[in-house]
């Protein structure tokens, strides 16, 4: 399992004018803690389904500040993560707005990342969504539980729908 993996034909330069990419999927989680890794499972599946020219994938154990550089170069961002508040396997898609009222970076969330992106680069994605999957088991295992295994293909279809609906047209 690749903890962090991006797939891009032309990655953004470290400074200067970023090149616009069509869509970005940011996933986080820990594959060693059962359902916590569901976001990364979806990222893996998306990597197999989408060509890099259509969807760029960045996955890690948590959302980190340098992901702002990735966000600065896309029109559509989809944040994928496990949720501890929803029933196992339940999928939720909600729009994400930038929020600056974050006191620290230990639990950096999509809204804070969007605000950071806007501050650093003066731009941010036109559309941003959080796709969460309810998770119930967080023990020491690389296997996600049954309800989440069934949720992965459904989540992938939702990713497909979002990419089709909100990616800039050629």
């Amino acid at each position: 399992m690749h903890i962090i993996k991006t797939k891009a034909s032309s990655p953004p330069a470290p400074a200067g004018e970023p090149v616009r990419q069509p869509a970005l999927l940011l996933a986080c989680g820990n594959t060693l803690r059962q359902d916590d890794g569901v976001g990364l499972r979806i990222a893996e599946a998306a990597e197999r389904q989408f060509p890099p020219s259509q969807l760029r994938i960045v996955a890690g154990q948590q959302f980190t500040p340098e992901m702002a550089a990735d966000l600065a170069s896309t029109e559509l961002a989809i944040f994928v993560d496990a949720s501890v508040t929803d029933d196992p396997g339940a999928i939720r898609v909600v729009p994400v707005k930038p929020r600056q009222d974050v006191r620290g970076t230990h639990g950096l969330d999509p809204g804070a990342l969007l605000a950071m992106t806007r501050s650093l680069s003066g731009r941010m994605p036109a559309y941003a969504f959080a796709l969460t999957i309810g998770a119930g088991r967080f023990g020491y295992s690389e296997e996600i539980s049954g309800p989440l295994r069934h949720a992965v293909p459904r989540a992938l279809r939702l990713v497909n729908n979002l990419v089709a609906a909100f990616s800039p047209k050629e």
């Binding site: 993996k5 890690g60 550089a69 970076t105 605000a115 950071m116």
Partner: protein, 474 residues
């Protein structure tokens, strides 16, 4: 009545630590101790594993600098195989190690310490984070994010992923570099150099405002230890170790890294899980030394790249003797980032870097192997013993942060004595005590990457344990 102040946890470090300050009856700091409160146990649970698993197992020690462990471990395994790895494999490992240094230094300087440097030590704690820097100083924040991403991208391009990459294996590396990947990396170099030079510009211009901190942030004589190449210049992947004293005298010129046990001892103290390495000929604690960016730039003849050499001369020109204040670790980190970037460019610009022969193969030929490399925080040593089947029977890891342990403790005491008096606990005062630890950029648990807002509790306790006063930040 004597009292104790506890800072637990210390914030914006990699890992979890606690500081205890012991006050006397007059409210003067008598003693300071830095406790590392986690036990990892890698040396023990690696026993019984095949030696060739060690690079991947020990890389899990750290989520920030896994490449450093990967490299040192691979070198220890090379020694067990008794092979001389192909030159291009050594060069590619070196590039990976340098990229690791860049991303780790960027994290330390921009994410963890720039809030102190840009907003001041007395700024409200809720403002001291990279998120706030992004809003208050966006151009500097953007350079920080870009430089961390630059280092991570190189690791990802070469080794397949940013955190816990494979690729470096016993005997070399498992895949040659393609021309496309080389060009991708070279294409990122100019922007990275420009970002580092911009950062050096504003940092140098702000140095005077930190004269008080420079004076008392672990500013005392110690030895310095680090790796050099065969010309005596700064080296990070492979070379001998040099030890200098605080006057700049070379007291050990070319120590064979693999024989570290002949000249490095490890003391233990009852209040912490972190050991206290020392230079054996001078004993403990007289043999206290520092490693990492400040040590490396103090002891090397120079860097070996044009832009970094200019900066190195200016840096070393601040004093005819080695720079002793640990505040200058920040400055040294920036110069090392420039050096690493130029060095990556130089290595990758050599056409032979695309050679296909990148791995030597052998079975177990030695029952013992030592691998040493310079990690971002200093000299990293992996030492393994194996049985005839190649199973680990004993392992000793001397982690870069450990070398600095004694100096960190002394630095905390020095800073606390200057800023902490009586039972008045000001936020800025406590932040300075934490900030002196941050100059060393210690990586305590490694795999836990915590930064920004963490709970901070300070307790004053009477000798009988009675709580006199408590302050807590959530």
């Amino acid at each position: 009545m004597s009292r104790t102040i506890t800072i637990d946890p210390v914030t914006r470090l990699e890992g979890h630590g606690k500081i205890t300050l012991q006050l006397d009856e007059a409210g003067i700091v008598q003693d300071a101790t830095f406790h590392v409160t986690q036990l990892r146990g890698f040396e023990k649970f690696c026993e019984g594993r095949p030696f060739y698993e060690m690079p991947n197992i020990t890389a899990r020690i750290c989520g920030i600098c896994p490449v450093s462990h990967l490299v040192a471990s691979s070198k220890a395994c090379d020694a067990i195989l008794a092979v001389r790895i192909p030159p291009v494999a050594a060069q590619l490992r070196s590039v990976l190690n340098l990229a690791q240094l860049i991303q780790s230094h960027a994290l330390s300087f921009f994410y963890l310490s720039s809030p102190d440097l840009l907003l001041g030590m007395d700024a409200p704690p809720e403002e001291r984070s990279i998120l706030h820097i992004a809003h208050s100083h966006p151009s500097i924040g953007a350079d920080g994010v870009a430089l961390r991403q630059f280092g991570q991208r190189i690791i990802e391009i070469m080794a397949g992923r940013r955190i816990h990459p494979g690729w470096t294996v016993p005997g070399g590396i498992n895949e040659p570099l393609s021309g496309e990947k080389r060009d991708q990396i070279l294409g990122m170099i100019p922007a990275a150099k420009a970002a580092i030079q911009r950062t050096l510009g504003w940092f140098k211009s702000s140095l005077e405002t930190f004269s008080a901190e420079i004076e008392v942030f672990a500013n005392f004589p110690t030895l310095f230890m680090g790796m050099i190449d065969d010309r005596g210049l700064a080296e990070y992947y492979d070379g001998a170790l040099r030890v200098i004293d605080s006057e700049g005298n070379i007291i050990a010129g070319e120590l064979e890294a693999a024989r570290y046990a002949d000249y490095i001892g490890e003391a233990v103290e009852p209040y912490t899980y972190m050991k206290f390495p020392y230079y054996k000929p001078l004993g403990y604690p007289g043999g206290t030394y520092r490693v990492g960016p400040l040590a490396r730039l103090n002891l090397a003849g120079r860097c070996d790249t044009p832009l970094a050499d200019v900066e190195w001369r200016e840096f070393r020109g601040m004093s005819p003797k080695p720079l002793l204040s640990s505040f200058h670790y920040h400055y040294a980190r920036l110069i090392e980032m420039l050096h690493a970037t130029e060095k990556i460019e130089a290595i990758l610009s050599d056409p032979s870097i695309l050679d296909k022969h990148v791995r030597a193969t052998a079975s177990v030929n030695n029952l013992e192997g030592v691998g040493v490399a310079e990690a971002p925080r200093g000299t990293l040593i992996h030492h393994y013993k194996v049985d005839e089947n190649g199973l680990i029977t004993w392992a000793n890891l001397v982690i870069a942060t450990g070398h600095n342990n004694a100096a960190m403790n002394r630095g905390i005491l020095q800073t606390a004595r200057h800023y902490v008096q009586g039972d008045h606990i000001a936020e800025g005062m406590l932040n300075r005590v934490e900030a002196v630890v941050r100059t060393f950029d210690p990586c305590l648990s490694c795999s836990t990457h915590a930064m920004g807002q963490m709970p901070l509790s300070i307790e004053l306790r009477a000798p009988d344990g009675t709580l006199v006063r408590a302050v807590r930040r959530d």
